[in-house]
Amino acid sequence: MQVLRLEKKRLLHFLDVVKKGFEIIAPVKSDLVRFSKIYHAEEIYLEKQSYFPVKEYFFRKEETLFQFRGTSITVPAYAAKKRMFFGLRRCDLNAIKNQDIVFIGDMGDPYYKAARENSYLLGYHCNTAPSPYCFCGSLDLVDFFDLMFFDKEDHFLVEVGSERGKSLAEKYREFFTDSQRLITQNEKRIPGVHRLENKDISGFYDHQDWKKGADICLSCGACTTLCPTCYCFEIHDEVKTADPCKGERRREWSSCQLQEFTRVAGDHIFRKEREDRFKHRIYHQLQYFKEKYGVQMCVGCGRCIEGCPTRIDFVRILNEMKNGKTENNG
């Protein structure tokens, strides 16, 4: 793939120029690091991984699916802003790829699709693990980006990853020079992110160690909200007071960690136990998704561990299952 070079001191200028044509979404540090709209390029914070994932820009927290009036339905226009995302990590990019499989490949979700089609994905390569909870190296992540920025002290090497990336680089050609070399596979490796030793968990379903995680689980749903790939939702209607036959149908984020999530007709809850719900999340991430789509859903960003009030480290639990260590560590 084509590689370009951008001097570091020109990055802010580059982004300021890009800002005229796009809305730039990049990590910003307030109380926590989160992806937000950038007004000045200096706001961008690249030292640590963002606490909140970027998924809310595609799979929105709340989405109006359609308006209804009696039995007639009006579907809203799938409008989405032209956006450029900057500072996406390898895990964030792969998470977008995995959600694409579900929302575009599988369901053809027009709301998600519209947001994705208007987005340019600019990555930022981690030279070191940006969080102690990272384990992306243990998973089979691939190159998925429009442009990827490799931080090389005084300059960036920018790898072009798609046709859209190429046209974007053409448009702002004045900022780039041709690089003398390509990016090696070794450069793409991130050191210290290979914690997960146990990826095939098919034989561990009845293992006693699941209890270790479930015992200190509050079922608060922080893990699934902060996960960049989790895509469960619920749907409900909101009607107008002036005329309860009119209203809109809404979709909003939900979580498999909730009892309510599996409440079905007849008031039956089929994952009543906390342990079952905890286990289900890990199995969906590492096994069920792979069985269905051929790739693991988890991208190893570690946000579910970092954001958990009790820091349930499922990676450690899985490793201990494999290595036969069952004692409680402290």
Binding site: I216, C217, L218, V239, K240, Q259, G307, D313
Partner: protein, 273 residues
């Protein structure tokens, strides 16, 4: 919809601050539409002419704190097909029910001993006396939730009561976890539906909407202990709004003392990061 087909509704209050009834009125933009949906037979708080009769449902604020309250509650229950408990007092007993956990002798001389006509009974939520058909909890309740209930009743589909913890809405709103900041937040064991309004404003959850059915109480106590709060504080905090709905609290607190339960998997001692 002809007028006589509309649902007959009454809104009443017994011992309480009237804030919950105010929450209904706070739906200013929609209140006129709301009144055209139902036949509001009685709402003494804002209406001059009220008719006590057969209701389709009664929305009742406040808790039972004296004999008159109990009479009103029983009468309304008898006259109404459904009884809706509105607000924390009605649903959990709220702050007035905290009296169960204090010594009466310490304060009754201040007022009750001086005024003969004040004859109280043990403060208690509605469901300790009569059957309750629907709960709209919160101190104060979410005005949109009341609206949603009334609209649902007109369509014949009552909204599903909230069961999820506050954390679900809190994280969705992009808040930092207050437990990580060392604050005694009860969000993980408290029923949501409030859009995490307190935490959005930086205040920890005090549990006004009552405990979730699925709470991990033992772990919650342990987390608070590990963050340096003593048992007295934890007990008081949990009992402020929903003490009567946590009858197991003392037992769980005793039981969890002997049990080793790590509240930080990574074993970090530091809670402020």
């Amino acid at each position: 919809m002809s007028k006589n087909k509309k649902l007959k509704v009454g809104v009443y209050g017994i011992t309480g601050c009237a804030g919950c009834q105010l929450s209904i009125i706070f739906n200013e933009e929609e209140i006129l539409d709301l009144l055209s949906l139902i036949d509001l037979k009685a709402f003494p708080f804002i209406k001059e002419l009220n008719t006590d009769e057969e209701f389709d449902y009664v929305i009742l604020e406040g808790l039972v704190a004296n004999k008159l309250d109990l009479e009103i509650l029983r009468k309304l229950r008898k006259n109404s097909k459904m009884l809706i408990s509105l607000g924390a007092c009605a649903c959990t007993g709220c702050v007035p029910a905290y009296r169960h956990f204090t010594l009466k002798e310490n304060y009754e001389h201040l007022l009750y001993k001086r005024q003969e006509e004040l004859q109280d009974i043990e403060p208690s939520p509605h469901d300790e006396h009569v059957k309750v058909d629907y709960y709209i909890p919160g101190c104060p309740p979410d005005k949109k939730e009341i609206l949603r209930f009334i609209k649902g009743s007109v369509r014949g589909v009552l909204p599903r009561p909230h069961q999820n913890p506050v954390c679900i809405e809190c994280r969705r709103n992009g808040n930092a976890c207050l437990l990580d900041e060392g604050k005694p937040c009860l969000g993980p064991i408290t029923t949501g539906g409030c859009n995490a309004v307190c935490i959005n404003g930086g205040l920890e959850c005090w549990g006004c909407r009552g405990p979730t059915k699925d709470m991990n109480l033992e772990l919650m106590i342990k987390i608070l202990r590990d963050r340096g709060f003593d048992d007295r504080f934890i007990q008081d905090r949990m009992r402020t709004f929903a003490g009567l709905k946590l009858p197991m609290l003392e037992r769980v607190m005793q039981g969890s003392k002997s049990k080793v339960l790590q509240t930080r998997f990574d074993g970090e001692k530091k809670f402020y990061e």
